[in-house]
């Protein structure tokens, strides 16, 4: 399969901005949606809109069928053992908040500790802080080294008999480095500590086999893997999910409701309170199909070449400081965050925008990491499998041109 073929499935890529061809390099923020996803959403909204799991009528049954077969598709994609382990949420943030609350209620007590990596997105920091405040527990930070790699050798020493959980991203949204998740899980489990993996970036770059990773929780957002916004997934091991109390109450999450006391529905319903995203969630089916089809050998190799090209170009520019530049290049993904000497990241982003290039600038929801590297912000170009070598070359050339304007 060729990249040109895939691009046809993503109408937005043909947009022009300021009369110039759009080059979309903000894929780590949200990825563009293929026609199949838009059609699914459209179809369900126009022809199959009904609340789920409740009514006996035909439309309700069809809508429920769409929703529940999506659960099977996600289970299959993540290689989870059971469909009961797949909880639909509104996104990775909601998934992590769910775990922080419910896991905290069940397993965290005063004086306990949670370990969070220094490179985490705010969504994998703040929910833990909120829980720790409530439970009088504390957070310990697993640092990253100067090249942006997790200091995995420090993990063993951070773990104490009070450690309950380690929260770490599969791939940092800033550094774009693949974290050694299996190693984190191995060390954590040898001490009886659970692991939550934030797969917000990882899901689209690497996917996940949760049984192989052996992580206890895995969270991701639909909109970063081609699906509709406001969709998301939490995978959790059944035996742990069963022990945790629900996060929200109401809707179909109940077994029996009495004023004398309420009992909860079995998994996964227990964690899906309220009306679900009935048109959005089923878009995960075509979205994950797209993600799988992009694992195609020709596409993957092309993307690797593109990644190597951008990495080489940024590395060889003496004015550029790249954050997340591991010695082992195979751990680097196509997410590039950097600063340019003497240039403010915002200025660069603004000039690139007028050249038709969409990139991200700022703190990227990772303020502790910005502090770690002593910067107020960075510029981030994040590529998807539909990006072309020509776009990468245009980006590098435009970066030079923007720099010559600004310096």
């Amino acid at each position: 399969m060729k990249v040109e073929q895939i691009r046809k499935e993503f109408p937005l890529l043909e947009e022009k901005v300021y009369g110039k061809q759009l080059v979309y390099l903000d894929n780590a923020a949200t990825i563009q949606r293929p026609r199949s996803v838009v059609e699914k959403w459209n179809d369900l909204t126009l022809h199959c809109n009904s609340n789920l799991h409740r009514a006996v009528h035909k439309i309700a049954a069809d809508a429920t069928e769409e929703y529940e077969t999506t659960r099977d598709a996600v289970r299959d994609f993540l290689n989870a053992e059971s469909r009961q382990e797949i909880i639909f949420t509104s996104g990775a943030t909601a998934s992590i908040n769910l775990v922080a609350f419910s896991f905290g209620e069940a397993f965290v007590k005063e004086g306990d500790e949670i370990i969070v990596a220094e490179s985490e997105h705010h969504s994998n920091i703040v929910p833990w802080q909120m829980m720790c405040n409530r439970k009088k527990a504390s957070i310990k930070v697993l640092p990253v080294d100067d090249s942006g790699c997790l200091c995995i050798d420090r993990l063993e020493n951070l773990i104490t008999d009070k450690t309950r959980l380690i929260a770490v991203a599969q791939i940092s949204n800033v550094l774009g480095v693949r974290n050694p998740i299996k190693e984190v899980v191995r060390i954590a489990h040898s001490h009886g500590v659970k692991v939550l993996v934030d797969g917000a970036q990882g899901v689209v770059h690497d996917g996940a086999d949760v049984r192989d990773l052996d992580c206890d929780f895995y969270a991701f957002s639909g909109h970063k893997v081609y699906a509709a916004p406001g969709t998301g997934v939490l995978y959790g091991k059944k035996e742990i999910l069963d022990q945790m109390p629900p996060y929200m109450g109401g809707g179909e999450m109940i077994a029996k409701v009495k004023f004398s006391g309420t009992t909860y529905a079995p998994l996964p319903g227990k964690y899906e309170a309220g009306t679900q995203n009935m048109a959005g969630t089923p878009t995960l089916k075509p979205a994950l199909e797209m993600a799988k089809s992009l694992k195609d050998k020709e596409i993957s190799e092309y993307h690797e070449q593109l990644t190597a090209f951008v990495l080489d170009a940024l590395e060889s520019n003496p004015k550029i400081h790249l954050y997340g530049n591991p010695e082992d290049r195979s751990t680097k993904t196509s997410i590039f965050s950097f600063t340019m000497e003497g240039v403010h990241h915002e200025d660069l982003a603004l000039i690139l925008d007028k050249m038709g290039i969409a990139v991200r600038s700022g703190q990227m929801c990772a303020e502790p990491l910005m502090d770690r590297f002593g910067v107020t912000g960075m510029l981030r170009a994040s590529f998807a499998h539909y990006n072309t070598m020509e776009e990468a070359a245009y980006f590098i050339k435009s970066l030079d041109k923007a720099a010559s304007m600004l310096l």
Binding site: H344, E346, L350, G362
Partner: protein
Amino acid sequence: METRSLKEIQQDIIDEFSMFDEWLDKYEYLIDLGKNLDAYPEALKTDDRLIKGCQSRVWLDCKTEDGKLVFIADSDAIITKGIISLLISVYSGRTAEEIASDDFSFLDQIGLKENLSPTRANGLVSMIETIRKAATERK
């Protein structure tokens, strides 16, 4: 000493901007303004001079000389610095009354606000408000 009216200076800027074909050229102009802005004393980079609501940091100092307001400014981002430079080239050396009664509409005519990202547009609004407030307080 500036002898032209506020409106005349603003019209000059409108004319200047209308000569550019595309926004990249306008940015180039703003970048030049930013680069040529007079040095701002480090000692005046205080929190009370920092304009709130800008993503990049912008400091604005205002003092009164011979009945006129004199503005000096700085920013860590060059385009923002160019924008604040443009503003002080118009408003510095004017009386508080002149500034307070101005409607700042020349900025709409050069299309600056709508061509900035939302965060920068908010920053521009904050800059305008700070200048307007400085003038109103000194009337």
